[in-house]
Symmetry: C2
Subunit: 336 residues, 2 copies
């Protein structure tokens, strides 16, 4: 049995969707048990079937609007998120899922679950929508504001293993997001990272990738520093949203457009679905000692169940242990 710890109070619609998502996942996979951490009184009304689901009560939780989630993590170890992570630390669970505030999740994973030995940073790694049907990993998208080249290398190794073992891509190709394709492009950081990625035996390095190819290039893993990755991911979201609005405006402008829409309704729905993160689960927290998936704050029950599916697969693929053997031994810091 795979024991999954779930922060029942994280996300915009908790605990309704976390509980419903857990029930969905348990129905789908008979090799998992789930422990929900959160307010029993609020959880119970939604928990209509507790097969392989149990509840550990705590009244405390981190509010999604919390301005200083890091302080919350440090000062209150009884929040649902902290208890979820403690279960990992104390070997009561094999992996965890939460829809909580990203910063709190990253810091909590860091402080409570702890980093892998020889891993000096934690990274946040979502799965991008795909044009060719192949999944693509992007990291770091904001676990760190600034990263050094050796940190990006470690995260690239992590994501390569995840792409191979979890996404089942043989010899995944890693690209460095940059402003130009030629070697020598970008900031000092990018040049150094290019060199490290070129020379590491565990990386199948493609070279620089310009984000104008973000959805169409052949790489399986795209790496950059946390600030840039966050800006790229949010631009992707913002463009998908903005172009969707422009498309809707143009369709509504003419009678024939509206007729066409009636025929095409299902196709447009599927289009929207392919751009949505709900299908692929959440973002992996790379670099800590157990698999943790951060689901979108606005996840519905189906999306949340997919995040549970994802973390189950990360355990089955033994990603964390397989990463450990490939990390460079030097350059390790013990900073927090």
């Amino acid at each position: 049995m795979i024991r999954i710890a779930v922060d029942a109070m994280g996300g915009d619609y908790a605990p309704k969707i976390t509980v419903e998502g857990a029930m969905l996942a348990v129905k789908k996979f008979d090799d998992i048990t789930i422990t929900l951490y959160g307010d029993e009184n609020k959880i119970k009304p939604f928990l209509t079937d507790s097969t392989r689901i149990n509840v550990v009560h705590t009244a405390d939780f981190i509010d999604m609007g919390e301005k200083d989630p890091i302080k919350q993590i440090r000062n209150n170890r009884k929040s649902s998120l902290c208890l979820t992570f403690k279960a990992l630390k104390e070997e009561e669970a094999d992996c965890a899922v939460t829809s909580g505030p990203t910063q709190a999740v990253v810091v909590g994973a860091h402080l409570i679950v702890k980093r892998l030995e020889n891993m000096s940073r934690v990274g946040l790694c979502p799965i991008l929508p795909s044009v060719d049907g192949k999944s693509k990993l992007l990291l770091d998208v904001g676990a760190n504001v600034e990263l050094r080249s050796e940190h990006i290398l470690e995260l690239a190794i992590y994501a390569s293993v995840a792409a191979k073992e979890y996404l089942k891509i043989e010899n995944p190709v890693v690209g460095l997001l940059n402003i130009g394709t030629e070697p020598g492009k970008g900031r000092q950081l990018d040049k150094e990272t290019f060199d490290l990625l070129s020379n590491n035996e565990h990386i199948n390095f493609y070279g620089n990738v310009e984000p104008k190819e973000i959805l169409t290039n052949e790489c399986d893993v795209l790496v950059t520093d946390g600030f840039t990755g966050n800006m790229v991911l949010k631009t992707l979201e913002g463009t998908a949203k903005g172009t969707g609005l422009i498309l809707a405006q143009e369709i509504k402008k003419t009678f024939f457009g509206k007729i066409g829409y009636l025929f095409m309704k299902k196709n447009l729905k599927n289009y929207k679905k392919r751009l949505s993160a709900d299908e692929v689960g959440g973002a992996m927290i790379c670099g800590i000692q157990k698999p943790v998936v951060k689901a979108h704050g606005s996840s519905d029950a189906y999306a949340f169940s997919n995040a549970i599916k994802q973390v189950r697969e990360l355990v089955l693929a033994d990603v964390v242990n397989k990463v450990a053997s490939k990390l460079p031994k030097e350059n390790v810091e013990n900073e927090q």
Copy 2:
């Protein structure tokens, strides 16, 4: 008469489209004259009407695939691009348009036309596609790999004046692209820039803007450093391209989708047009002594004529001189 210098040999389809674009523009605006710089023998076959258009011959040009355009600019001052810029320097023209390689254009403008006094960097500033019908400026998108906060302030002042005088937006709102909306977010650079923008009398500062609102937020001007701006712009292009492909895939999947497409063809064409840079002209080179517009390398004649329209309007609005009076006097460097 507004005298416009045109680099006839820049861009993927030169000189055909530059010549055709020039003829289109002259037909549209009776207050402009155009000088085409380039290979007379190649230009002549396309120049079917030379009303208010003359040609200055040079056999040299900078190839679009040139690996080291900066060296080209330094070593060969007889290329069509250099002659175009020299015409500005020597007051033989009031403004210039080119589709040449971006790096060469930026460096050439810098070295030959020269920066405005009190402006320490040059910026590249395209116009973003618009959801609400309002144009939006983004800069720097890559004239510089790295910028300091005071450089971003100068560019923000330039773009504010351009938004007011050229786009006719009263009191344009300036946003700082960042990973979070709260003050204090981002790198040290972003925090410093936030402070400078907050305290400058010429800036109507909105605060931080996350790129997930890139096309929908209310700002008229969005600023960031050149590396980040380039990544954001290219992600926008890449997402528009990728989502367009996904949309086409989904439409083709069903019979009804294909029927719907027939009804909606014109709407989809207009959608594509609204995302295209062809309608709005090119990117402004901000910070030099005369208006220069860099048209897209793949511009067609219509797009190129719009870039000529744009540079004409920048002259009429007297943007460059209006910027000069608003630049901070301190912090000026004379580095190249």
